[in-house]
């Protein structure tokens, strides 16, 4: 197996493809099959709420069936991996706990970090597959993970948490294509059952986008996160009451009272007092990020290193300098101000187009910080 990896993916090698039943992973499997790989498809069953929602992009019975049909169509075996227990433990429980702390988690990052890729690699080992593949819009170049060719579809932001050694085994067949090209290819390959499937927008276990309901179902409607609390200005002046801080996220405008001189945004959430702090756009700007659960996909960089930082999916890259790394958390100084740095979201760090690491945002820092002078 390790010999195979030393020379890179070659036709005939076995590759385990994670198939969601959507167009990207279906085309990934079909492309690899076309290139002569020994393709094995697997659909991860992550979540099941009892009632299978038709048209749900992922995890529904229909999705599993679509993935299986694609595999039958292209002539490769397909299996279902039941990951409901680890997903509930490592992703859903954390999602709920984070919201209850007033933060805005990204379950997809945790799923990639703790569930999807680790199980994929473990399963690949069991079936002697040196390679794993997914339908992510990102590219593997010289063993480094790069942003996808299609900037509108780039999914590298969600991948900073995977273990570095997995990179050596990853194949991302659609990362150098646009979504339109992928859809065209699906039609060309005869995969009509998935070619025009809608994009997955919602979080898979939050079908209608109502995360408050998921939190309520888990913690009960009496939980503090769902109780009314004060809406205050930065100076502490109370200007209203909200209906549960779980419904708010840093940078949010919707659901705030009108009647101020300028539009107001959520600046921070203080779970202990159920307080939601609001203020004008100018107060949203941050010049620094503190992050934890840091993961590096390259050698651990020295303090003073400069990266492109992304603090939100699809946000532009901002130059950022690593000013502190104490092993427990890192601090980044941003060259220009960034809006709405939300605790719980991720900061992904890039070297050019290559993703080199990231972490979970602990806090945004309003003040500009003097950069340390690095001795030569």
């Amino acid at each position: 197996m390790s010999e195979a990896r030393a020379v890179g993916p070659r036709p005939g090698d076995r590759v385990l493809v994670a198939m969601s039943g959507g167009v990207d992973s279906s085309v990934s499997a079909a492309l690899l099959k076309q290139q002569g790989f020994d393709v094995v498809g697997a659909t991860m069953k992550l979540y099941h709420d009892g009632a299978d929602v038709p048209d749900r992009p992922c995890c529904s019975l229909d999705s599993v069936n679509d993935a299986r049909r694609v595999c039958e169509r292209i002539g490769v075996p397909h299996y279902v991996l039941n990951l409901q227990a680890p997903f509930a433990r490592d992703v859903v429980d954390d999602f709920v706990a984070e919201y209850a702390r007033g933060r805005t988690p990204i379950p997809c990052v945790r799923c990639n970090t703790f569930t999807k890729f680790s199980d994929l690699v473990a399963t690949a080992d069991r079936i002697d597959a040196p390679w794993i593949a997914t339908g992510h819009y990102a590219r593997m170049i010289d063993g480094r993970l790069h942003v996808g060719q299609d900037p509108a579809k780039d999914q590298s932001y969600f991948l900073w948490g995977i273990r570095r050694e997995m990179l050596a085994r990853m194949i991302l067949p659609v990362g150098d294509r646009t979504k339109a090209e992928t859809r065209a290819m699906a039609r060309e390959l005869g995969l009509r059952m998935v070619a025009s499937k809608p994009e997955s927008q919602d979080i898979c276990f939050v079908p209608d986008g109502n995360h408050a309901e998921v939190v309520a179902a888990r913690l009960g409607t009496e939980h503090a996160a769902l109780q009314p609390g004060p809406l205050v200005l930065e100076d502490g002046r109370r200007v209203g009451t909200h209906d549960g801080f779980v419904r708010f996220t840093v940078g949010q405008r919707k659901g705030l009272p009108a009647g101020f001189a300028e539009p107001m945004f959520v600046l921070s959430i203080e779970a202990a007092t159920r307080t939601v702090v609001i203020g004008p756009r100018a107060s949203l700007t941050g010049h620094g990020v503190v992050a934890r659960e840091v993961n590096w996909l390259a050698a651990r960089p020295a303090v003073g290193s400069v990266f492109g930082a992304r603090v939100r999916h699809r946000a532009p890259l901002v130059p950022a300098t690593l000013v502190r790394d104490d092993g427990h958390e890192i601090e980044l100084a941003l060259t220009s101000g960034v809006q709405a740095i939300a605790p719980g979201q991720s900061v992904a760090l890039y070297d050019g187009e290559a993703l080199v690491g990231g972490g979970v945002i602990e806090s945004g820092l309003r003040a500009k910080r003097a950069l340390p002078v690095i001795a030569a």
Binding site: L61, V64, N65, R68, Y79, V80, L81, N82, A122, T123
Partner: protein, 385 residues
């Protein structure tokens, strides 16, 4: 890859060529509706009646005691709920069954409870048989129907249905047995049994999926599940599937004819497979081996492995078999049967069922003996890594 091997006969079997041949005229020129009075209708009706007689003979029953169904699930539902509905106006509203039944029986018992009845599960012994004391305690005067599976589909465990039926009858209850895995493996003769209802399924014996029958003893009360015409004496309205009835009759006869030779052949192969796997994997656990067991099932757990990856690895190596009960999505769910027998959950999660039948020969057994232990060793190596 060598030719793939099918070790999942308890899930389904290929349709016998003789069955296909016998059915074809009824899918073509002899297409008539058995209820029609004209020549096409008469021809179809005669074929249906003959098929019913032939299936009845295979069960030691009279023709009017055979009701064709769409398979085992429908027959189980018809028996359990049909008997429950018939008995509950008389104050007998409890369904007694076991925790190792097929989901069709368990879900029908749940339904009876939802409709105002009660469900009562008897305890099982670790070897897969009904606990005698628990069973005796359950035979109270409020019991409408007792349903006990004759041969369990996951472990092959045999329950003493003749005795259990007598006990239930003595307590004034009706008795049903799911005989889907028993037919063709045990001597199923309703003339010598006290059962009121017995389920059989076609696709386990070489007839198509969608075929099956419920034996309903003369005089046993039964409310139909469907409402419509008077077909099958009103017990199962709807135009009869003549081709499938004919197919079921041919498959049942062939199954009975070869039962004794197959019993010897499959038993010899299963025992050889079991002995060889136990020799190669000394800590292998064989489920149901402590009690009476049908010859076509071998359900094993290799501690430290899990069924999901074992099934995948076996399939990729060309060996098709099953885990617990496969759920609709195709993922492997923990077995309710093994849980009811007190099997530890990690051991139950490792359970792999190999079921033998028409497609099994000695060379196939040799391949499993060669491949299975290798995959176990590999899975354990991974688990340690």
């Amino acid at each position: 890859m060598p030719e793939p091997l099918y070790f999942d006969h308890a899930a389904t079997t290929p349709v016998r060529p003789e069955v296909v041949e016998a059915m074809i005229p009824y899918l073509g020129p002899r297409f008539g509706n058995p209820s029609s009075t004209h020549r096409w209708g008469r021809e179809a009706r005669a074929a249906l009646d003959e098929a019913r007689e032939r299936v009845a003979r295979c069960l030691g029953a009279k023709a009017d005691e055979v009701c064709f169904t769409s398979g085992g699930t429908e027959a189980d539902n018809l028996a359990v709920l049909g008997a429950f509905h018939a008995m509950s106006p008389k104050g007998r509203k409890t369904v007694v069954t076991t925790p190792i039944e097929h989901k069709a029986v368990l879900a029908a018992a749940h339904q009876a409870a939802r409709e105002g009845g009660a469900e009562r599960l008897v305890r099982m012994t670790p070897s897969g048989q009904v606990d005698g004391a628990s069973y005796a305690e359950s035979m109270t005067s409020d019991v409408a129907v007792v349903s006990v599976m004759w041969v369990n589909n996951e472990t092959g465990s045999i329950n003493p249905v003749p005795e259990l039926a007598q006990q239930a009858k003595a307590a004034g209850a009706l008795f049903h047995t799911d005989g889907v895995q028993a037919f063709g493996k045990l001597d199923v003769n309703t003339a010598q049994l006290a059962v009121d209802y017995l389920t059989m399924s076609g696709h386990k014996i070489g007839a198509p999926k969608g075929t099956g029958a419920l034996f309903i003893r003369r005089g046993a009360p039964l409310e139909p599940l469907f409402h419509g015409g008077s077909q099958d004496r009103g017990r199962r309205p709807g135009t009869e599937n003549v081709a499938f009835a004919v197919g079921l009759a041919v498959a049942a006869e062939m199954t009975i004819a070869e039962r004794e030779t197959e019993h010897v052949r499959l038993g010899r192969m299963r025992d050889r497979l079991q002995a060889a796997l136990m020799a190669a994997v000394p800590d292998l656990i064989v489920h149901g081996a402590e009690g009476p067991r049908a010859v076509h099932v071998l359900n094993v757990s290799a501690p430290g492995t899990d069924a999901e990856s074992m099934l995948m690895a076996l399939d990729l190596a060309g060996i098709a078999c099953s885990g617990g009960s496969a759920c609709q999505s195709g993922s492997v769910e923990p077995s309710h049967v093994l849980a009811a027998l007190g099997v530890r959950s990690d051991i139950a999660a490792a359970a792999v069922r190999l079921s033998l039948g028409v497609m099994t020969d000695d060379a196939a057994i040799d391949r499993v003996v060669q491949v299975f232990p290798t995959l176990v060793a590999k899975a354990r190596g991974m688990a340690l890594a």
